[in-house]
Symmetry: C2
Subunit: 140 residues, 2 copies
DNA sequence: GTAACTGCAAACGCTTTGCACTCCC
DNA sequence: GGGAGTGCAAAGCGTTTGCAGTTAC
């Protein structure tokens, strides 16, 4: 999803009876300004510079809240920590097997091919997750 | 991969200079006899009945060893524990959004469609993981 | 005999929880 | 003013690690 501006995200919080706090806005904007899939700790480390009092617990709670609002997807790769994917549309997670860096690949024909697969299987999909492991340019 | 018989798996261990132990054979056979994706604890709980002295540490170590041999894939879903998928070929993990049960869906045309996607992206794939979330018959 | 493996328990790291204080509304 | 949200620290839990005893070879 495209990043909402301040006014839109504030409205969304209010509409859902969540209070609007500096921390929530900052975390939302940070995660959605990135093309990759940051972990809780990465988010915490960066935002702590601007908000020294920020706690890791608040980062976790806010990300859970954003997930409940359907704005992002919690993903576990083969590592200990959770990562957050702010793109809820169909895409492929391009995961470098060496360095672990992840970016999203999107293309119209993937949707078409995926729909063919879905109709073959014959179930009503609630969502999906597609990872492609490869060696990125930096590691190759 | 199809489950190897006792002789084959013993040969494979020996070929790779790993000692053949009762625990290793039992864990291998258990994971490969199942169509789903058991967690470490599930494996431990079941095998403890036949091997009361078995420890959880040995289960972890053995599964890591089987992964190193390329026999299975470690997968993290949106839960705390690791699951083990003994099927290394291209397939779709059918994950029930409600109860979390997982089974593999395989079909020839998925491979063809996946190859189309791969060649569109234009990278050399090292592997992949495809999850489809749906509501299984028991939960619907 | 000896090096690898096992079982056990402690350590580890990420995540969750509980609670007093704070600050939106 | 009141209740939701925050920060902090402790607890929780799956996984890893270290080590003494055991077993495969």
């Amino acid at each position: 999803m495209k990043m909402m501006d301040d006014q839109e995200i504030i409205e969304l919080f209010k509409k859902n009876q969540f209070k609007v706090t500096t921390q929530r806005i900052a975390i939302y904007k940070f995660v959605f300004s990135r093309g990759d899939h940051p972990s809780t700790d990465q988010i915490y480390q960066v935002l702590k510079k601007d908000y020294p009092a920020l706690s890791l617990g608040t980062v976790y709670k806010t990300l859970d809240l954003l997930e409940k609002l359907g704005l992002l997807q919690k993903l576990r790769f083969n590592e200990d920590r959770v990562r957050y994917d702010p793109d809820m549309e169909l895409h492929i997670n391009m995961v470098c097997s060496i360095c672990g860096q992840i970016y999203d690949y999107k293309a119209e024909n993937i949707k078409q091919l995926w729909n063919v697969i879905i109709s073959d299987i014959g179930v009503k999909p609630m969502g999906q997750r597609i990872d492609l492991y490869y060696e990125c340019n930096d590691c190759r």
